[in-house]
Symmetry: D4
Subunit: 252 residues, 8 copies
């Protein structure tokens, strides 16, 4: 979209016909697979290639899309909520593809892209780890240094308070919590940086598959908190990376 | 019901006794199977035979009803949400019966009934395809030309904007979208024809099995939108056909 | 958007500079009021000028926007959910502005634009009239012939059945119903044309401000039904007009 | 409880010591199984033995309770939502025990107890049959004549209207309906007898596992309707029997 | 509808032309007021004239409809949820019209129509009285003897237990309860007659305007209970009368 | 109920006729006011006289009931959610009646009944004070020493941590919190005594009138917490008193 | 936290360096397992070791944590919602570990710690036993005498009333109830001690997986009731123990 | 908390007694007003003084707290959701206090603190302005340059697309939208910076006071989005400032 001016200039200079200009605007950044329309332009627009949400797609569809993304550039590539089958299908063509069974992520990691600031991922309990790992892995794939602080729920507040230094050392904090999600409010009350709350569906009954901590995080009394969808570790890791890298640009 | 006058006239002219008139009103268009009461009158009333919702019925029940419908007329016949088993049971008697595993539809297609106007079925993501295909197939079975525009969600808006010509060429648009369903609003803001939103249950957490896009489509800021039930591709395809064929009448 | 090609051609022919082309694309169809950005292009895009939702705006804001819309073209103009105050503020400048206290609509009606087909607006009970009138008035302002069929709820089914002729005479039916909203299913079972359900908030307790009929209409067993938001008479009237006028174009 | 006076009289007459009176009040009508406290008094109090809700109990627990109930009296005995396993466990001891796989009811039927009035069980669709059969079977076991009227949903209203005579012949009507449940309102508008609505979980999406018809039936515009829990065929059959037999007393 | 046969016979005998027959079917029992379609046939069909739900209607509309109903027959007439204004507007024409400020009912009571059986209306707390009185008044107007048992909530169980005789003397019981509505289960466990639960919106917080007792009554462990809408005293009184008078017919 | 044995003994000894015994069981502890059935027995059963929930009652009804309770014993008397009007109506007869406008409680306080243990009432924010004061006042009226710890929400954790001594000094803690209610989890993680959570409706949007902290408190990760209804300061104060006084008995 | 003063004194006396003091504050009571941060301090703070919620953890993770807890002290140890696999993994190292398949609890029981007062666990129905047993077992493990009163739901009130003595003999009562949960209100109305309500997910339809009894218990008309999460037998047993042992201290 | 080391060092050096150290830790940063506990430490911890949420407080309470905050430092001070009355009470003491009736904010603005990066606040419609202005004003008070882009909802997509330059010029974007809130997804799909969604309660019916856009924003298909509470303009502005100023520190 930002290249409209370039194309208009080419047209003006006679370097590009009107018909070609129209075609150009549409063609280069998009690949049609029939069942999917790959948005290769996203690397340019968002600084990271399209991330494939594998749930609801067949393993074959997921693997095909991931392969196309991997072939196109040399950025890292990520598929979330993937069965191990996706990884198996990918391996023959992309031997460096990896799979993390905890977060159910399949990914291709290319090159060291550590940054100055760090993303801290805090998790309230052991059962929250799959979501926390999805967040941590996403942030790492996007080139961030990640600090993991797990099982520090508020029922044993001293577990958290003895780690204040790590909280203070981060540039942005992702808080992953199920049950009632109070950890988000407590951490946000202690620091002066953005806190991204990720409610998880860990719990039962009135936890309502994550609605309890979702509502709790949205209505927190501590300022500086925003929230992503229940169990959306990917979204939190992505946003944390975006905040951590504000002004920089990755993987040209 | 519209034939009350005819029957009254026959009674007046002595061609029909009162008792027979009463019986006539009830009998001809209905077939009793014990577990089902087939409404053969629906072809006349609605322009398409009764569509069988196979979920919650045994494959045997579904197959029996479909067979009865197929025997009675020469319209196309459709069963939705069917297991492959229904198709298998149907094949010995109706060899031309077909099954589409994506949309889980079993159907009998008889004759070319293409129309002028076209129904456009747009889907936001690959995971929405089962619902989109149910809509597309239903519209095709009811004699419409269908244009499929898949994986054009708003996260990559240019994928949609480069297809404006196809949007403008339709007479009615079905928009199938999960997640937050924003595609419906965006498309409805661009065109001047009816848009039928189909929220899907694709997503997780606060998506609430489709409630998020359902509420979103209902409260859209773009006029010209109406909504059918979550995942109800059939209902959208049926209504789209009805709108596309307003004033015409199919399969006498 | 469809005029991109025109502008590109002008640029190519040297009739338009690149800078001017960019400005042109943005300027002509939009008017900035500070608190509002009027979309004058909507008449061209949607066949009817922007409709002003007056709730949540000050009467002064509503009246200013309506005035701007009225000055720009000679289409009919509509403001919904307006206090009488909006009308009073409008009258000095637009003496032909009218106000309907039942539907709380303020509008400017210019010229006879009757069509062939008719929109039928059916309402289940007397308490549903404000919503039904909003639908009927909207459809009339958009140039449709409207037939009103009120207080025909299913608790007294014969009130409806004796009016079958009027149901059959319509091209599209808007059904406005509160309580449980069963009227929509019953009417849709009787006709072969699109039915637009408008659930209303009439009722109490488990009616949940309209959620009961909303859910009911969405899950109707009768095909050919789609639904708009609770109490959204405007949306239903607008869509009914769109369906009734498919292929035609109003108010160039 | 009503026998307090008797016991008080016995105490007064010296026929019963105070300690024994206290014991008597508690003992005779109750049987302790450890995991269950059988209420044998219910036959006297409610006219039918305790009905065993088998879901959530082990088949062994269910079978044991049913056996105890069968041994105690000569009333009919009923277990609802039972796996076939319960029946198998029961057969060696109670060979006359029967099992109905549609309604998942296990029961022991002893003797002909037909009544004058009839309970009509109407069901909207074939998928509603398991619930409808639970209602019908319960009413039959409690000694009522039951008329079944199935697959008469409002999408084909004439299927119902041609059966008005059967509606008029009943003393109480149970209406079993999923989807939006409009059948309840339509039937209640046609008759002058109590109508018991049973919403079912048949449907998907906005049907919300039966909440849509539940809310619809509760907010019906037709008087004379009351509602039982979603899928609660047993409750409806039980209440229908109670209404049908008002003033009579069964199985002394 | 039951008079179809009569009309058909008249047509057959030449006593009625087809056109007149059609008109007859529609006209006699219905009166058009523009904003309302009065269903005078309801006395014949349901044994009681149409009851006017005054909420959402203007007092003038309510009074007009009530007047029309009063003029037509000599049955009792009832308007629910009415402001005192409706009564004032009615008085000049119908001086015997009465108004009950507790239940907000306006009514015209004509003649003593006491029955054998009694309807018991039990209310859990003083705050539930408006709903309880609406139920009691409705049942009285429909010719039933009503016994009122108020403020007997389960927090003081002995208040109820000392009144068992009155429970046993009724033919049908209406239980009106807010808070958690447990009174319904307790009473239904003690008696052998139909119990109609009316949840009320009395309470706050998690009572959710009556949803708590509504859900509670629907899921009661005691058989023989059905439920009407929250605060729907009228519906419960109406149904109780219907059950109490099964087989009888009122006000020919 | 526990006096059944006494009455049985009197009957046995001929000191009491059967009829009188029955009457006695019912009469002494209950006073009928028509609109209310006062449970004077509650002092004996529950250790505190019936508390009057004044919302939904007329001020006259509330004042009458409070007067009756005050006349009967010499316990403290409490009415909650009362308008000042109730107090005014009470003053002429009960000059020592007091009114607290913050908690909207009207009460009669008779005598010093301080206890050993203390009830701590902690409130997260200033807006939670009306509920916190209702809890504190209730506990004081029931004879407890109350320590108030207000405005110590988790957004500024040190406000709470510097008060650990007061937390440790209590026997039972009531935590009153709106927004997301995280204070309950944090406090329960720090102490070894029962914590009663009172969610309040303080907040907006996703706070859902108190549902957010209600769900949060119910799903807390800290053991030792139980919850009362939203804004139910009375219930929490009452229960806190019960726990604080376990084994003791007040106001014989 | 309460040992801050001790550490400060050691620092002041030169017995402890500042760096060591900081380390000490954090280290002793916490054990890092990578996936979990064990809070060994909880025995001191809460009087019972950390209880392991095994759902959402792998059996290996659960077993490891339980082993660490067992090794550290000689308190009883408890894991809830555990598969039998956890027990199997634990047995080689901790042969005295036990498993209860009804409540799915794995536990290590060391020594007789009976108390004076008793915890009564009442359950409404047989299907509620898994939750009731979790409560009972938890209370027993924490050293309480537990009385079990099962299958005493209000549909047969006399089953409860004949057990009043057992109700009166308890110091605190846990009421476990599914369906509508009315048992909680009834019991709380009869006794003068704290009642902890545990709603269960037993039921279907409008029971909404336990929301119906949850809302009912929260809005009970009987004072002295508080509520824990749906199916949270552990939480109720833990709190009941805390109340029963107020002022005492267990397992130093 | 981070000053623990300093205090420990002072104690070690004998400069501070243990008792004084304990007092110091608690006293300096907290001011007790009885009804409130002011957290003066927040400027140091969070970079901005405590913001007063005035809803639910009396105007007198709000004004007192604001005055205390203003006296203590020379930072800007902010009170949200304030009546004009708060401003009036503040003016005599703090004449430079200002009030904005659109966002209902009362504030004290001290000195120019413009930053490099800009916060863009985009609003979908005119009715969303109160929330958008609360966000914009908060960000300005915290020292950010704010760009306002109002009334650019997706129903007229070109209104937004012509402003892409302003989107690209921001460092962080706040998107305020009611109805279905689709603007958030569309903007997030176009940019490569953090987007904070603020759902508003603008709309009706299925908009459910903001739940529809809340759910929609949480489930957006565009990465880089997080969400704050419905109508929480303050929270979004605060977080946007935090992100915009990452690494900087304001108002020492």
């Amino acid at each position: 979209m930002s290249s409209y001016r370039t194309i208009l200039n080419s047209v003006k200079d006679g370097l590009l016909s009107v018909e070609d200009a129209l075609a150009d605007l549409q063609k280069s950044s998009i690949e049609e697979l029939g069942f999917a329309t790959i948005d290769h332009d996203r690397v340019r627009r968002k600084g990271f290639s399209e991330v494939v949400y594998c749930a609801g797609k067949t393993p074959e569809q997921s693997a095909t899309i991931l392969k196309k993304l991997a072939e196109r550039g040399d950025c890292n590539v990520l598929g979330t909520r993937a069965e191990a089958k996706v990884h198996e299908l990918l391996l023959p063509d992309i031997p460096e593809a990896q799979y993390d069974p905890v977060s159910r992520a399949v990914y291709i990691y290319r090159g060291e892209q550590r940054r100055e600031g760090a993303v801290l991922v805090a998790a309230a309990g052991t059962s929250d780890l799959p979501v926390a790992e999805e967040a941590a892995l996403t942030a790492e794939l996007m080139g961030n240094r990640v600090d993991r602080l797990y099982d520090v729920g508020v029922a044993g507040l001293h577990r958290l308070l003895r780690q204040l230094d790590r909280l203070y050392a981060a540039r942005v904090i992702v808080v992953v919590a199920g049950m009632e999600g109070a950890l988000t409010s407590v951490i946000a009350g202690l620091v002066n940086i953005p806190v991204i709350g990720v409610p998880t569906s860990v719990g039962y009954g009135a936890q309502l598959q994550g609605l309890a901590p979702l509502l709790g995080m949205l209505t927190t009394c501590a300022p500086g908190v925003s929230v992503v969808n229940i169990d959306n570790g990917f979204g939190a890791g992505y946003l944390a990376s975006m905040i951590n890298q504000l002004g920089e640009r990755k993987c040209q």
